[in-house]
Amino acid sequence: MVIVKRKELSLAEKLYLPEVVRGLSVTFRKMFEKPITRQYPEEPLEKTEVTRGQPRLVVKEDDSIACVSCGLCEAACPAYAITIDGGETDRAIEREPKRFDIDMLRCILCGFCEEACPKDAIFMSDELELADYSREALIYNIEKLKRPQAALQQRIDYVKKINTRWQTPSST
């Protein structure tokens, strides 16, 4: 059994009033200090390379989408947010997504899709804001998800850097 020894209170403390006054003086002083609130939409957060926002699809320099609709992100997605239908193209890589929907209401921004992607086609962009007036509008289709590679470059470089950790052979 643990016996907690409480501090003996002095008379002033027992009276409680002086302590009340002390407390009041503390809160009164704090009223005049600078608030730390960030006025969010006007003062947005700084975005860094580790910012993990909503997933977006990479459009390569030759204007073709990097995604081959392999479905690994769909399978990896723990929230079942992704729906992909593939189709054939004439390009060297024969397969491309005809439909690529991410239900942003389901998406939990975990980044599993980014990790699962074998083609470096989906990355967590720095886009964080998500608001609309209907549920349908928040199911993003392929056109809404496409981003030029340059827009995602910071994150792409970061992910590559992280991944090289696992690629360097261990000392053993």
Binding site: V20, L24, V26, F28, P35, T37
Partner: protein, 338 residues
């Protein structure tokens, strides 16, 4: 036969005072949020109007458009009536508060002292009506047919009855000092700053202030709502304007109590170091003093943690009641000797 000018004066005063009271109530909700924000390094409401000044208006509109809910098994009549009972007494008690001791003269038109009525038993009137407001709470709590509401209402009644005693006994000390139940007379008797009752009755003042906190169910004694234990206490089941009425009642009660404290202990409308101030100055002085007490309500709320209910009761019955009795006795003895 009342003279028309007297009736008109009365209407003007009543209109100004009631509008003021309701507006103060509304502004208090904003002030509450603003001050609490500042004390916590925050900004507070700042989206509606300049500095968020129109926030109470937005809240009011929101309240009106909220869905009215009626709990299953509630006593419909009492459930609807309770917020009215809770809000009404404090609104009525403001009638006897003397905002000036001098007659107000508007461009040669004397409308008398700036209080709605000059009642020679003003103190009794306030105590009698003030005691009614507990009904609103306990009826609201009971009629909701919810355990949290009922417990909140029970606590409210226990607490308010306990502290009513302290309140009355401390007021009695002041009445003994002034020798009158007329608030006007009490205010007049403290015309000079050295005559203020706070200097002669510091203990009574202290207990009175604490009792007002308990009477208005304010922090640190807000056991009737006590969120961590009772969800929202007696108004758990209320929504829309009915809920808003409870709020208006609470803030009006606070305002009245602040006015009463000012009148009883801080000389009411008296202006320090001025023997014969202008009536407008008197109103300003009164509002400044009352404003301080309103700020105190907020200030204390965001400083002190909530008591335990048994601590509250122990304080009321074991400390304040004997002290108030002793204080009254001493006051009487001293007064009769001097």
């Amino acid at each position: 036969m009342i003279e028309w000018s007297v009736l008109l004066a009365w209407i003007v005063k009543a209109t100004v005072i009631y509008l003021g009271l309701v507006n103060v109530g509304a502004l208090m909700t904003l002030a509450e949020r603003k001050f609490s924000a500042w004390m916590q390094y925050r900004i507070g409401p700042n989206r509606v109007g300049p500095f968020g000044l129109l926030q109470p208006l937005a809240d009011g509109v929101k309240f009106i458009f909220k869905e009215e809910l009626m709990p299953a098994g509630a006593n419909k009549m009492l459930f609807r009536f309770a917020p009215v009972i809770a809000a009404l007494p404090s609104m009525m008690t403001i009638a006897v508060i003397p905002f000036t001791t001098k007659d107000v003269v508007l461009g040669g038109w004397n409308i008398g002292t700036f209080s709605i009525v000059n009642l020679d038993i003003g103190v009794l009137y306030i105590l009698a009506l003030g005691g009614l407001s507990v009904y609103g709470l306990i009826i609201g709590g009971w009629a909701s047919n919810s355990k949290y509401s009922l417990l909140g209402g029970l606590r409210a009644s226990a607490q308010m009855i306990s502290y009513e005693l302290t309140l009355i006994l401390t007021i009695l000390a002041v009445v003994v000092m002034a020798g009158s139940l007329d608030l006007q007379q009490i205010a007049l008797s403290q015309n000079k700053v050295t005559d203020w009752n706070i200097w002669y009755q510091p203990l009574a003042f202290l207990m009175f202030v604490v009792a007002t906190f308990a009477e208005t169910n304010r922090h640190p004694f807000d056991f009737a709502e006590c969120e961590p234990e009772l969800v929202a206490g007696f108004h758990t089941e209320y929504s829309s304007m009915k809920f808003a009425l409870f709020f208006i009642g609470e803030y009006s009660a606070m305002t009245v109590m602040a006015c009463l404290t000012t009148t009883l202990f801080l000389g009411g409308p008296s202006v320090p170091f001025l023997e014969d101030p202008h009536w407008a100055l008197q109103i300003a002085a009164f509002l400044a003093k009352a404003g301080f007490f309103l700020f105190l309500f907020i200030w204390v709320r965001w400083t002190l943690p909530r008591f335990r209910f048994d601590q509250l009761m122990a304080l009321g019955w074991k400390v304040f009641l004997p002290l108030a009795l002793l204080n009254l006795l001493a006051t009487g003895v001293v007064k009769s000797l001097v």
